[in-house]
């Protein structure tokens, strides 16, 4: 089903990212830095969650959030422009590369973006001297999260028919998820049924898993399983949407 063609697609994305490296870098910094300043220092100074301070609490959440945003936006926006505006996707569609390879190559590029922005915030965290640890399983989880949202990005780009559709998708799906998914507060604080609703969001499980891993608690297997399930299902849907695309 999947051939080595995915690497060609991935190669093209990496080439493009290298060409606008500084744009990508600054682009992935703005949002998390604003959150860190607003919630970490501004509002968070007096807030305590459990035993730790608030900065230690929100940093893993912000990492999950930026990995999601970088991967989802990086994949969906470029693909959407390529589909609607430059039509460069047609160059790929008339070449003998399977839709699954196109999907995988794009998602892997999203993973690189997600991982990259996660590393930036980890670096900021290290500079701020937070009381957290970042091991290989932490970064592997970032990768899994970025994969799921890269796949969602492909799916969204394939299903939307205009730029407005894409903006709406971001506003109605991505933005609420960003605020509600336990990034800034623990879902345990919410009353039912909101608590269960929020557990539907994949980002919630990303935040839970990353927070547990960074604070050296027991590895949250259920959260990882949910993320993995999302990654698989979204990949299949994304591949099908590319296969069925007709411009």
């Amino acid at each position: 089903m999947i051939d080595t063609g995915f690497y060609t697609i991935f190669w093209r994305e990496m080439l493009a990212i290298r060409k606008k490296f500084w744009k990508v870098l600054s682009g992935s910094l703005v949002m998390p830095v604003l959150y860190l300043v607003t919630f970490g220092w501004g509002i968070g100074r007096g807030v305590r969650v459990g035993q730790g301070n608030y900065m230690d609490f929100i940093l893993p959440g912000i990492i999950a959030l930026s990995a999601m945003n970088s991967s989802f936006n990086g994949v969906s926006v470029t693909l959407n422009i390529s589909k609607l505006y430059y039509k460069t996707i047609e160059e790929i569609l008339v070449s003998p590369i399977s839709p699954w390879a196109i999907t995988l190559g794009r998602i892997l590029a999203g993973c690189v973006r997600g991982l990259f922005s996660a590393c930036l915030i980890v670096a900021i965290g290290l500079i701020l001297d937070v009381n957290l640890g970042f091991g290989p399983s932490f970064f592997a989880t970032v990768l899994l999260l970025s994969f799921a949202f890269g796949a969602l990005g492909v799916l969204a780009a394939m299903l939307t028919r205009s730029h407005e559709d894409m903006t709406n998708f971001s506003n109605f799906v991505i933005l609420p998820m960003a605020f509600l998914s336990g990034t800034f507060f623990s879902p345990d604080l919410l009353p039912q049924p909101f608590r269960s609703l929020i557990l539907v969001y994949p980002l919630t499980h990303g935040s839970i898993a990353l927070r547990a891993l960074a604070t050296a608690q027991a590895v949250p297997l259920s959260a990882l399983a949910v993320l993995f399930g999302y990654a698989v299902v979204l990949f299949l849907l994304a591949g099908l949407s590319v296969k069925r695309l007709e411009l």
Binding site: G5, S95, P96
Partner: protein, 279 residues
């Protein structure tokens, strides 16, 4: 090399391509001529697997387009009507990406890129971002990219649209060079001279239908090689003659501005459809 059998495309209730049937033998330059909206691009999109086929069949190099799209993609090249180059990449990177998409070896890619960029006179510009190219350079790169992987059949959708006459000549030379290499070419155009100059045979399309198909000269012969054209003001319909004296005699009977000249493909189109290609 190309075979269409009642190829049809319907968008909701609109028939964009209506039972198109013709064959193009290997090495021929075949032109699809028709006004805006005739269905030329839609036909090409079906033949190149970009659009689904509503009904009918198409074969490229003996491969069925709807049953084996990947097989078809291996043997075709497409230079679409819109310039879908990667504008952030350089000319060379565009070709490199295309070569990788078609699984050409690194060695082959490198040699072919040089050969083709020299052929299209873009070698000096190989490291320039395509964004900075002129329209004519982009068009040449687009065609160059389409032949990078040595396709057997090449589809050129309006390859000279918006180019000035001089650059247009260069693109024509390029196309004839490809024909000399034995590539089968299907080219669409709404420029009369282009169809006349480039094509071995021309299919004239109007509103999704093929209304005539023959060698340019034969099309003119059937219509009549001399055209008597009135100026717009006195509005008499054009008439065609195969005998020059007869044409002149008819013209002298008319009042106002009347021209006698050789028939061109636009006249053929008007005679067949009662409409002008350009309005």
């Amino acid at each position: 090399m190309i075979r269409l059998d009642h190829l049809t495309k319907r968008f909701d209730h609109f028939l964009a391509v209506d039972r198109l049937s013709f064959e193009v033998p290997q090495g021929e330059v075949f032109g699809l001529l028709g006004p805006n909206g005739a269905g030329k691009t839609t036909s090409i999109r079906m033949l190149t697997t970009l659009a689904s086929i509503t009904s009918g069949q198409a074969e490229i190099a003996g491969i069925d387009v709807s049953r084996n799209p990947i097989g078809v993609k291996r043997v075709i090249g497409l230079a679409p009507q819109g310039l879908n180059l990667e504008i952030e990449l350089t000319a060379e990177e565009n070709l490199e990406f295309h070569g990788r998409l078609h699984r050409m070896s690194r060695h082959d890619r490198r040699a072919r890129i040089r050969e083709l960029l020299e052929f299209s006179e873009l070698w000096e510009k190989r490291n320039v971002q395509v964004q900075k190219f002129s329209g004519g350079m982009k068009r040449r790169l687009l065609i160059t990219r389409a032949i990078m992987h040595r396709p057997k059949v090449l589809f050129l959708d309006e390859p000279t649209v918006g180019l000035d006459p001089q650059i247009r000549r260069r693109v024509w030379d390029m196309i004839l060079g490809l024909k000399a290499q034995g590539i089968t070419i299907l080219v669409t155009t709404h420029y009369i001279e282009e169809a006349d100059f480039l094509c071995d045979r021309v299919g004239i399309m109007n509103r999704g239908r093929l209304v005539a198909l023959d060698k340019p000269q034969s099309l003119k012969n059937t219509t009549g090689i001399y055209a008597v054209i009135c100026s717009r003001m006195n509005g008499c319909p054009p008439r065609f003659f195969n005998d020059r004296d007869e044409a002149v005699r008819y013209a002298s009977e008319l009042e106002g501005d009347v021209t006698v000249r050789q028939t061109n493909l636009e006249d053929v189109f008007i005679a067949l459809t009662g409409e002008a290609i350009h309005d």
